[in-house]
Amino acid sequence: MKVNSMVRKNAYYDSVTLMIISREMKKIEGVDEVLVGMGTDLNVDLVEKLSLLTPELEGITPNDLFIAAKYDESKCTMDQIIQAFDEQINAKQDASAGDYQPPTLSSAVEHLKGANLVQISIPGRYAAREAEDALNKGLNVMLFSDNVSVEDELKLKKKAVEKGLLMMGPDCGTAIINGVPLCFANVLRRGAIGVVGASGTGTQEVTVCIDKLGEGVSQVIGTGGRDLSEPINGLMMSLGIDALESDPETKVIVLISKPPAPSVEKKILSKVSNCRKPVVVDFIGGDAEAILEAGAIPCVSLEDAARKAVAALRGEEIAAFEGFDAPENEINAIVDKAVASLKPDQKNLRALYTGGTLTDEAMKFLGENYQIYSNIPMTPDMAIEALEGEIKGHICLDLGEDEFTRGRPHPMIDPLTRSEFFDSHVDGTTAVVLVDCVLGYGSNADPAGAVAESVNSARARLAKEGKELVAVASVCGTDKDPQDLKKSVATLKEAGVIVMPSNMQAVRLVDRILARVSE
């Protein structure tokens, strides 16, 4: 049994609160006795009589609050007891009624005068009806929900175009309107680059890179992943281009998407060719020629798109970026050190992504050079199903895909899925683990911490075989994000993770390491 205490000088909580709290604290597992009170002599006498006295309580005055406790150290700590105290205090203060939450959209419109955007994340089968209702009321829509049918999407977007409203989504994860991040978005500097993106993490990566380069965004419009498919015909991307073209704040426009359906690409590019503002286009792995022909700027990566947009804005020369921020000799030193730490049978890649478009980017680049099993394989024979339990060769996974998230939250919100894959898939044949760490509103409160924990435990496991682990990461976030870029990078570095400034640079570094170990 341990006896401990805490004193807070001139701390006052009303009596009822204090009494209820001391009762609640006795319920903590391992707590034998606990007293909470004001530091009067007689109260200290009681503390003494109960053998709870510590030297700390000797200088106490009647206007100080104390907690004195006796507890089983193997079951709880003083910190836990104090934390429980603080939680109780706060719970009490939060007990008053919160903001009014109306039950329907119609009522919400009456309560929030001048509402102009509805963010919808209710189950898909109900979402279309609410979105339609919102559009009918003249509100812009951010539809985060998935499982909305193509027919419904088309109907909604047609209505939106007719009314000149945004209909972002379904399955739209990211947008920033008037500087406000919606759903999964980062906190960015405001500026002159307008973005229309059909892919969530792709848009995040581009905008974060823009921020890192010292520029900002005017508006970031999400369209949802199906916008550039044949049936939807790019309705929202077209509307987005028009809106940004007539937006005086926007000087440069960036379009981000996976390769569109050919007919849709044609339509979008013809719109682009008529646009009076510079347009940077990253149709990840799309047709660069056609983009050039339309008078737009094609890109080789998400990071490259950001760099070219910034260059266009600043009137600088626009050149493709295919290297590293760090000088070549530094990169070589990192690669040398990593390779030197590995045993000869450590040859394989384990890329465990939470962001879909970031996975695409990695697969597109590394898949050219290596045979990689994936849930988004380059060829059907490399599908993850072909692995059948036994783990061999390179693996790259988009853990945000339905097959991994069924019945549980997206790995960007809950890192558990990725932790499990660390445990099951990082083995003695692993040379490099490649991960992303997506920050911003809506994301997990500490994704870097979760990665660090996984890396540490994998490293401990491999150490038993006398092996090292090389981990490479990039952090998609800014210093203004709630999770803080700097703090996340520091957490990862502390766990011995090599942190690169962008996903593409992380991928290139991994490519260099793999090339060396497979020699």
Binding site: S96, A97, Y100, P102, P103, T104, S107
Partner: protein
Amino acid sequence: MANFIDQANKEALKLMQNAQPTLIGMGIAKDTLPGMRENLILHAGPPVKWEDMSGPLRGAVVGGIIYQGLAETVDEAKELAASGKIDFDSCHHHLAVGPMAGVVTAKMPVFIVKNLDQGNYAYCTMNEGLGEVLRFGAYGENVINHLNWMEKTLYPILKEAIEIHGPIDIKSMNAQALQMGDEMHNRNKAGTSLFIREIASSIVKTNASEEDKVKVFDFLNSNDHFYLNLSMPGAKCTMDPVGKVKYSTIVYGMARNGTEFGIRVAGLGERWFTAPAEIIDGLYFPGYSMEDANRDIGDSCITETSGIGGFAMASAPAIVQFVGGTPADAVQYTTSMYEITLEESVAYKMPNMNFRGVPTGIDIRKVVETQIRPVINTGIASKHAGVGQVGAGVVRPPMKCFEDALQAFVEMLDNEGLLD
């Protein structure tokens, strides 16, 4: 063009907004209430048989029988009640309302309230005060003596005073009381005070003895809930005309008999839609708990039906504590009632809701759609006859009442071939 349901509701709302409940006099139940007779006992809520009555209602019936002189002892009264020689019926079926047990017998004095807009009437007995009283199911000697005093002394003086004074406008008295912190269901302090102020000089002018006048004043002054028995018939005669509007989806009656909760919907005529009444998870007086509580009872939720009571909780912060909440909760309760009602009252404004009118006209469609049930402020009766009030709280009608009503409404439309 709006559909016929919306049109019907508009008409119903107009009746609610234009109603002019006015106290015009007093009388004896048998001579005033339609269909009232010697062997008929009225009770709160939807109709219920003696076998199904709860403790407090049975107690009040026994007390009522003794008071009426139909039996002398408690055992005789119980036997008579069970014999089938006494008829029971709902107050609502005789244009009356009664708080808690709501028992009315033939010789009881009643207030006569008239809705000057439509010319219809509503009736209610006088409030007995707190403690050991008939409406909580007590039937001891004190109870009967008190009822006799009310009949022999209080009634003639008040009747005469009202005659001297002339009609008293309940609507404007409600509106004032609301501004003074009453919601006219669980708090009637302001209303009672206003009533005393209004009637005082007329009481003095009556022919009664000084001593009796003093007793009457003392009684009125000691009973904060005296006005409840005026706000209730006021609400009743406001809502009754609504019940005649075909195709309206507005609830025009809500009442509980201690066993079941019942609602009535305008477009569905006089039918009751009932479900077992709830036991209230409220704030219990020291020494009492939910185990002591009777199921929800009383006609007093006619006030909520008309838009006051729990619907106007934001305006009565003083009672919020007694239903276990904060002033902010009270505002939330009132705010959420706008979700299930169709209009805001023109007459009843709430100062701390920026003089918004109380939520008016409960629409069964909105209740079912939003799953928000009307909020009712209520006292809690002990399940044992005669114990009295054991707590207070907020209660809501069972959702089943509204769902059954909605289904019946659609069936009615189907039968009339009005739906595709």
